[in-house]
Symmetry: D2
Subunit: 346 residues, 4 copies
């Protein structure tokens, strides 16, 4: 099959061929619960750039070369002998983590903390290819009105946004307020999820006029221009501070600013990464703040997100590239020329 | 009445007379829901030292002189015309915050976030005196087997420990583990509360042999010597990391160490203050950590704590001083000569 | 002032003058936290009929005569000396229960379980009059865009619907389903609340074509005709049973049918009353069902509902009568000629 | 192998040979995730009697003959090719339900609502035998200090008690009260679990002096003799009603009595079965009661219970019989001669 592999890191991201297109053997069923997916779409994510930069080496030690792509959807191509959940031909989205199903975290339903999980596209071969090997526990059959190439980015970006927004929705009663910092790929999903899951008031914060215009078009009436004045603007709109802040940037000062926007007892949800959270313990105590880290969501959460997508409550802007355009797509993302989420279609 | 007032700040805490003993007029009922309490005991707290140092000026702007003492218990002396909850002679403990009862926080039961609350001993005259003015909403009638002078420190130190431990108890299922950093005044209450409210395993961490000995005597079988090796020790005992860490120190590296002890999905509860929480956003996300700030508890929580005390499930080591020994007591606290909580008895 | 009082019970509800219009002295401020409200609208409720029938005598022992009317809104007319939350002229809605604010239930925020609460219009004089006496703790200032006469029925009917729907919303994740039995005064509010608070699928069940037509007009796409086939219809639509059933009828077989509609682990919320819940213990166990009773909501919940109303997320159909038309209004309700909620305007 | 099978129902339970001892072929690994357990102990349960009586035919349609026994523990004898969690020789307890691991209920961690679950000893061959076939997902490795024959009854009776007590523990704050009706096999486990998981006050209700004596010996200080006066006794002890009632009888009037013991907002947890819950809807509403059905617990809950047992926080009185004494054991249970839980040891 055709696949795009990472052979060497590039901290500068300046190399033209960040990934190398190659012809490789198809993945095969190895265990009774394996599922081989024919890729219909593989989302391109800022994390792919961070992997190329080598940032993830500290967290996941994976020898090169290997195939990137951790936001995958397609059709079931082949299944192991015990697989009952899906059959060849079924359209599926692939939960990003392959999990053992027997560790305590899996048994509580929190698969993403699986003690033996592996991550196609991060620790193992991923979906920038024609075929992908995953497990029965990781596939969700798509509702009839959803196409693999249109939903692939939900598998990771969407699911991460969903989990953070779902956590925030649990505290947001009518009259309470959430500020969303960053109305990009994840932020615009989180805003829609939040609007579906609760009646709290939503304030969109972004430094880009274009992003705020998109927020307006999507019906988000409270918007704040990012930058120096955003803390004051949010405090004024909320009459004292937000109950929840969801930060999809997580660097360049947004953690400090995000926490400064909170009202008493408020919670700062961090999703974006790169920077530091730095806060005096006395501030945490005096106003009784909470800070909540957010990893990708679990399998039931991905099912729930697919339900929202099928019901039209959450929509996603994507831009399709052919698999052989993968380097062009990555450079578009680096250069800020990619609006919406890029999806590679083999 | 006799009272101890702060007239000037002293950053060094070296002055012999940190507070000044004076004869002052008794506080009087001013509003229909006022309650005048004859003090039976007033707890001495490290926060009193921080007030003398001037550290709290950034948070609470209060002109000098005024009477310190925010951990108060005694007997009802006089009541306003609408007070029904207590009558003169009733033994009571005093919730540290006087609250309006009508703001949204009060209506949800979270009085300590009251929009109009005032804090006797911090923002108003407190209980290092013979009498204290508070409100009906702040007094809890004591069970028959509890004496004011024995329970006064529960009003703030105990309540803060209770709230943090109660939050942690909600996630600690059997087989899960909490590490408590600092087995001093608050920590030893939190440990007892935690043991009462859940079946999670408790690990006591302290840098003092004496504190660990006390923990042993109180039946806490898992103990770790604080310092350089404590992170490794906790990770080994918990086979990978604690589900909860409650930090009663909050400075000198314990926030970093506390977070380093956590297992995936774990929560760091911070109570002690003075230092900074500094953590890369990627760490919060990758392991999906939470950080929870803890202010003093609400009124129902203080009632619950009094129930535990009356049932003998939580015990408190106190050392009584006469009110005119207040400066001696404070210097004992500064000099590390005060084991247990100091209580001033007028 | 002008007021409508109940002088004698009438089990048959056939008497023309069910309530008697009289001239009575205005209520006066008696305690420092009293609030006198000039009534702008008082909702008429099926409970008023049940009171006239004498059904409530078993629950609340109240000598006749007295003024009915427990769904009240208007403008503050006079206040006691300690009232700070509102001032004369403020438009307010009145929480149906006057509460002490100091009992354990009040302190936890669950005012409707107040140990010393009294219920204007049920245990004390109510709002079918020009003025009403209530307490500071019971009034909520109205947002600028809401009129007392338009919101009065939210005070009890709306609040009860809100509380039941809010409880159900907490379990309804995307893809889960709630059936609402009875799309009348409470049911049509509950459906709108549920749609605002969660993304669960909503099925409207009613025996009236007209009610189902209204549900369609309000955008509820899943509707089932009540009666013999409704259990099967709901089970088919939900592929096995609903996760939540909210029953606003509560008699004539709906409890049995409502529970028969549930899927495994499902919850039956009962609001309407008159009949019996009768279920074999083995059924409760085998499918692990829950049954949840619902009283009127607490004060924060009424605030939240007012927020939803002000935001246009919940709308209420009302029909205004003059206070001197109270008996006509009651007979319209008895005769099924009153669509929407009746509101008496003095 | 040796096994005890049910060949014909007997409504009267008078037949001497209720089950027939036979020599049968050993169960074999059929699927890659199968586990064959060599039985160390199989608990005897009142449900076994109900099965013999034919009561369960309405719920589970299972042709005769088959082997009873749904509370099983032992040692792993053989495993399928994909089993990683255990290896031959490991001591295990067997979760009573064999589940698919892929349905929505399993993915949320609530295995006992599995859409494709099967129940050894109820729907399939059980553990009154030398060997049992189950699945990897159903076995939990025992801590070193627990013996299979001592823990077998935890697999169903203990787990059911655990789940009900755990639910109740979530609402029982210090000062709140739970009444446990029935201090038999399940009740005495539930009481110990409740004492471990929360600080609520526990009242034991039983009609047997002997059971109340056992409760006293186990340190439960609040005890009430069952029968006509028990409602009043509990209401007096709780000053108005219990916050939680857990009913392990569920027939002969205990549902009505159990609900009559509740205070406002209280919850009735039903575990025992046989009778009916019958309650006027107005009572459910007026006092805002909840009724909670309880099936057996999920896999993580069985792990938690094993932790409590290993820590000595929950103890179980058992009486061992040889497998060939199965009919004697059953008649001892019928005749009330079996104190503690009976365990069959092959």
């Amino acid at each position: 099959m055709r696949a795009a592999r990472l052979h060497t890191f590039d901290e500068t991201l300046k190399r033209e061929e960040l990934l190398q297109l190659e012809e490789l053997p198809n993945p095969q069923v190895q265990e009774p619960d394996d599922v081989i997916v024919r890729i219909g779409g593989a989302g391109l994510c800022r994390t792919d750039l961070h992997i190329v930069e080598g940032i993830w080496r500290a967290k996941v030690d994976r020898p090169l070369p290997y195939i990137l792509g951790h936001e995958n959807a397609g059709w079931v191509h082949d299944v192991g002998t015990t697989v009952r959940l899906v059959k060849p031909g079924d359209p599926v989205i692939v939960h990003p983590l392959a999990t053992d199903g027997t560790c305590p975290a899996c048994r509580r339903g929190e698969d993403m903390h699986c003690q033996n999980g592996w991550f196609p596209g991060i620790s193992h071969d991923g979906g920038f290819a024609q075929f992908l090997r995953t497990k029965e526990r990781s596939v969700i059959k798509l509702p009839a009105n959803l196409e693999p190439k249109d939903v692939a980015p939900y598998a990771d970006a969407g699911l991460t946004a969903y989990r953070a927004a779902r956590k925030a929705s649990e505290i947001l009663k009518p009259g309470m307020t959430a500020a969303i910092i960053g109305f990009g790929g994840l932020g615009h999903i989180a805003a829609q999820v939040l609007r579906s899951l609760c009646a709290g008031t939503i304030i969109i914060v972004d430094t880009s006029e274009q992003a705020l215009k998109l927020a307006e078009d999507m019906g988000f009436e409270h918007r704040v221009m990012g930058g120096g004045g955003m803390v004051d603007d949010v405090k004024r709109l909320t009459e004292g501070g937000a109950d929840a802040v969801i930060d999809f940037v997580g660097e360049k000062g947004t953690p400090e600013q995000g926490m400064a926007m909170l009202g008493r007892g408020g919670t700062y949800y961090v999703v974006g990464y790169g920077g530091m959270v730095q806060v005096p313990t006395i501030d945490l105590i005096f106003s009784e703040f909470n800070i909540v880290g957010n990893l990708v969501g679990n399998y039931p959460e991905l099912s729930e997100l697919m339900t929202l997508a099928a019901q039209g409550k959450v929509k996603l802007a994507t831009r399709a590239y052919r698999l052989d355009q993968v380097n062009e797509a990555m450079h578009d993302l680096i250069g800020g020329r990619l609006t919406g989420r890029g999806v590679l279609v083999p």
